[in-house]
Amino acid sequence: MSATSAVSLPDPERRALSRAGDRDARLSELVRDQYAFVWRILRRFGLSPTDADDGAQQVFLVVSRRLSDVDPGSERAFLFRTAMHVASKAHRTRRRRPEDAGDVCDQNEADAPSTDELVDQRRARELLDRVLDEMDVDLRAVIVLFEIEGLTMSEIADALDVPPGTVASRLRRARADLEARVLRHQAKTVAGGLRS
């Protein structure tokens, strides 16, 4: 059998395999470029780092099944919606696992030797997550997407499936709400310190 005549895949099969290759390439690019985005979304919506790892993987598994539904340019909107869905399910079905205990330990390591900056960052994230957790989910979403993840207004409108004007009005309300809650937490902390 000559080497050159060895393969004789029918054209439809060739085309199908080529499409599969294109699909894998697109999926790979999405994972590489957007994994951190998805992971941070899950973190800001209340998942521990370990759960965010698992959740991000699940998000991309969903994406892999529905890649043909994702319009070019709307990837982050789709990823955000999927991440919200995964986060919601994770909250409903959450089980404490040994890894979670590690996460808690990480959060409580403020007493362990560490740089001031790292401790400050961790505390800042804890406060932010606490405040975000108290907020209405719609307001929380615009804060996370616009202020932290840097999505454009139109991307957010696409992700939340609302008119662009609604995004702007939510953002204004969200800022005011966030600031008030942060001030309230800081006041509580100061008051707690004075009492002790």
């Binding site: 199908a16 080529s18 390439a25 590489r32 993987q57 409903r92 994230r125 932010l128 202020e147």
Partner: protein, 299 residues
């Protein structure tokens, strides 16, 4: 609305800016990307962009090789990589793999595989398999059997080393992996590589069907795979795809059964995390979440 700037740029209070900066600086562990790539069957080739180059080159056999490599990578073991790469390298001189097996993940066979060489390789290279264990085949949706049922140590070893998914003993021995999951009928005569590629194509068919939303077609493909390859080398992958397809069809009980079986038989498979999630999700809900309104399926 386009005139709205980031709050940072509009004079947000220092306390708020610090919160945002801390959140922006948080990064996932690097292993997350690799783990996700592996779970998706994209492998290290995709992580380095090699698969994109291969796909744009778009030789059919290159894509087959990419798929083969991707499935092999699912097991995340050097053994599996060596097996596949070894099978390809043998044809090109039997000397290329040796010291390069560790580098194989970064330079997958897709970059070098020649379309015309595939069947020649399949015909020419049929390494002998030495005393492989045989895994019992059970119905995929049957209740999970305890792993202890496979008390044979050799079998247990093979189960816990999913690299057995690709059964070419010569390469496996190279990295000290146990002999692999091959049907007993193939022990005496070496397994044909064309059979291996047939298995890969069968699994890829199920995966492609599922990717396009055709869960029924995926399940049918998996049934065909089970019938054609009763001791198939990609059983964990088949179980995983069955789990996803059943969940896609709304059969939570079936998906849970498949997930439990995958966890019981292949606890170290890359799909284990996803399987655990499926098992957990199919359990009764514990605490209602305030995020419930956002639970709608993504478009």
């Amino acid at each position: 609305m386009s005139d709205m700037k980031r709050w940072d740029d509009e004079g947000a209070p220092e306390s708020i800016r610090r919160l945002f900066e801390a959140a922006r600086d948080e990064e996932p562990a690097p292993r997350g990307v690799a783990r996700t790539m592996t779970a998706l069957g994209l492998g290290a080739a995709a992580a380095t962009g090699a698969s994109r180059a291969a796909a744009s080159g778009a030789g059919a056999a290159k894509v087959i090789a990419a798929s083969t490599f991707g499935i092999a990578m699912k097991w995340g073991t050097v053994g599996a990589v060596c097996v596949v790469v070894g099978a390809l390298a043998v044809h090109e001189g039997r000397t290329r793999l040796g010291a390069k097996s560790a580098a194989a993940a970064a330079k997958p066979p897709v970059a070098t595989m020649n379309v015309a060489q595939t069947p020649a390789m399949l015909a020419a290279n049929t390494p002998k398999v030495v005393a492989p264990p045989v895994l019992p085949e059970t119905a995929p949706d049957a209740p999970s059997e305890p792993v202890a049922a496979n008390a044979n140590p050799a079998t247990t070893r093979a189960v816990s080393a999913p690299s057995g998914a690709v059964a070419l003993a010569g390469s496996a021995k190279r990295v000290g992996e146990p002999a692999l999951n091959v049907p007993r009928s193939n022990v005496d005569e070496a397994p044909s590589k064309s059979l291996l590629l047939e298995e890969v194509k069968a699994i890829d068919g199920a995966r492609t069907a599922l990717s396009s939303g055709d869960a029924t077609g995926a399940l049918a493909a998996l049934d065909r795979y089970r019938a054609t390859f009763p001791a198939g080398r990609f059983k964990p992958e088949a179980l995983y795809l069955r789990m996803e397809a059943l969940e896609h069809e709304g059969d939570q009980a079936g998906a849970r059964a498949a997930a439990q079986r995958l966890l019981a038989e292949y606890p170290n498979a890359p799909q284990a995390a996803r399987s655990r999630l499926v098992v957990a999700e199919s359990a009764p809900a514990a605490d209602p979440s305030k995020l419930a309104p956002a639970a709608e399926s993504p478009r």
